[in-house]
Homo-oligomer: 368 residues x 2
């Protein structure tokens, strides 16, 4: 990443501010800050903020004791001014003195409510808005470098899935299997294991189950949905469904339908289609097979510096797909109390269709 | 933790709502939710919220696909009603339908700004406030069980500090030392290593430095400030200062002053003193020795389910100390570009004074 890319992102954010008639964006530590200026600051109670106005140089407001850390990030070489505040000052008052009474200001979507409420209490004459639409307009369109980052993350999590059959066995608990997977997520190059779902038997029917003390049994479907963050912050996320022993015909038939729906949705991806249409393609196939009511979540979410970010592939999202959009395609079905299944890949919208970043076999993986 | 404790916390929150004339608290995933009902939900873009009103039973609003996860938490055995929303509904509209037009509602301090802004857009007739003062009133006063949790966390991080001299040596980078410390934080019983500061030489003068590729040199002061979260969510945080080779007399004299200031501030802790007075005790000692301007941060922060939480021990905080308050005492001095030092323990306010939870020697630890 050269600094030119950060400068370009800041310029594009200023363009978004102008286009949407918003005077200012205040960006606190989190993925937006990392995206815009490469500063991976830990979100803490003291206000750190990148301040971006339409026609003035962006600057950073930092607690005095974190100035060195800010300057050690790309902020230093970008030449951004760093204004500091000390322990007995109010950074919110300082911000108000710097900016005056704006008509509108926007804040990053992940800012802590406590900070936003303090900003609102200080800027009483100002309408506060979410900066999510402005920054998503940038972050949704991944650069070649970002796509490469997501590709490496995808390969790393594929290597973990390749090893899951070593650990998954009747008689072990979900927690034990999850522990092995967590170590492998780190060993394969991630710096954090962000989530580990090992949903066995009835737990496979709870989409956001994590792990439990449940002992895995013969006859269990096991949904394994795992991901982590790479050193550059880009995330992986992939799901495969395993089965302990021989599945019955009904489950196999449903799984084949799911597989078909996942492949069809992926094939549908290309510039110009709407985000919701990708969901609809899979949902129609599942509905036709009587599984529509069991597909209880949207088909996917954007991914990049966050596991879940714009665009969301959900009914009602008419955003038109562009090259560089990166997102999951993960239909599932869930029979409450019985069994579920999910197949998930990360996909990038390329000029000629989907570029698929997870490439382990998508079939039901039978563990003997 | 018995469910009776969660029920008691919910009752006390309702008392706070009545006492402060706030109609409702909306608590999203994060430490407040974990504290109040034991649900350690991952903060994601879909709204999950505990809704607490003054005179009605609390309930949980959950995405439909996370209902099983919510019920698998203590929420299930507490008997709280779980209302769900599906992917094509707006949870904010649903909340508004449930609650009607309130005059005031409060939100947890960590709620994402994007969610708060959606609540504000929906509840246009309602004043939104921070729930931090209400919930801090509960969380600041640690129970015997919480103090025991913090004690175990303190013992775990003490065991890591005991081993730091094995890894800290001239010729190694801060990153290499930090990597060893990170593994030990997990090996000693934490589930996450939350922060690892290895500030060597000039980096020791940057209080929130993390680790870098800098090679540690003879003659370096090294500030090692480390902590993690235990399986029950309670955090550790302790700093010791190491020195590679023989420190000069000036540094040693300054360090002895710092040590004296840390001990004096700890000795000052007892019910009835103000939070700011603990800071002042250390600051006066450092100022008298000419180090006041180099002590650029407050003396401490509360700790519990978050590393930093109320009460903050800072000039201007006149909150009166009570038994059960738990916080850090961590004076430091920082000569920019040269060297710094910090000594930090976690302390609980007991009836007869400070109960100190970190007990490694506080002297400068010389690495030969």
């Amino acid at each position: 990443m050269i600094n030119g890319e950060y400068a370009d992102r800041l310029n594009r954010l200023q363009n978004e501010l102008r286009a949407r008639d918003v005077e200012c964006a205040i960006i606190s530590p989190g993925p937006d800050l990392r995206y815009l200026v490469g500063y991976d600051a830990v979100p803490l109670e003291r206000l750190t903020a990148l301040v971006v106005r339409r026609d003035q140089d962006p600057y950073v407001l930092s607690p005095f004791l974190e100035k060195s850390a800010a300057l050690a990030s790309p902020i230093g070489s970008l030449g951004l001014d760093v204004q500091t505040w000390t322990e007995t000052e109010s950074p919110y008052e300082l911000l108000h003195r710097h900016l005056g009474d704006l008509s509108t200001l926007s804040v990053d979507g992940r800012m802590w409510a406590d900070k936003l409420l303090r900003i609102q209490a200080e800027f009483t004459a100002t309408a506060t808005l979410s900066a999510v639409p402005l920054i998503s307009a940038l972050r949704m369109r991944k650069s070649a470098g970002e796509i490469q980052s997501l590709r490496l993350a995808g390969e790393a999590i594929d290597r973990v899935h390749a090893r899951v059959p070593e650990w998954l066995a009747a008689g072990r608990t979900e927690e034990e299997v999850g522990h092995d997977i967590g170590k492998a997520i780190l060993a394969e190059g991630h710096v954090t294991a962000d989530f580990i779902i090992v949903g066995s038997g009835p737990n496979s029917a709870s989409p956001h189950h994590e792990v439990s003390a449940r002992v895995i049994q013969p006859g269990d479907a096991v949904v394994v949905d795992i991901g982590g963050s790479m050193p550059d912050g880009y995330c992986s996320d992939s799901t495969r469904t395993y089965f302990i022993g021989e599945p019955d015909d009904d489950y196999l038939r449903d799984f084949e339908t799911l597989h078909r729906a996942q492949v069809a949705a992926t094939a549908h991806v290309r510039p110009g289609v709407t985000c919701e249409s990708v969901d609809a393609v899979a949902r129609d196939i599942l509905t036709e097979a009587g599984l529509g009511d069991l597909f209880i979540h949207r088909i996917g979410h954007g991914i990049g510096l966050e596991t879940h970010e714009d665009p969301y592939l959900v009914t009602g999202n008419t955003t038109v797909m562009e090259t560089g959009f990166a997102f999951s395609i993960e239909p599932g079905f869930y029979r409450e109390g019985k069994a579920g299944a999910r197949i998930e890949d990360i996909v990038v919208c390329g000029e000629d269709g989907a570029i698929v970043l997870n490439n382990r076999p998508r079939d039901l993986i039978v563990i003997d």
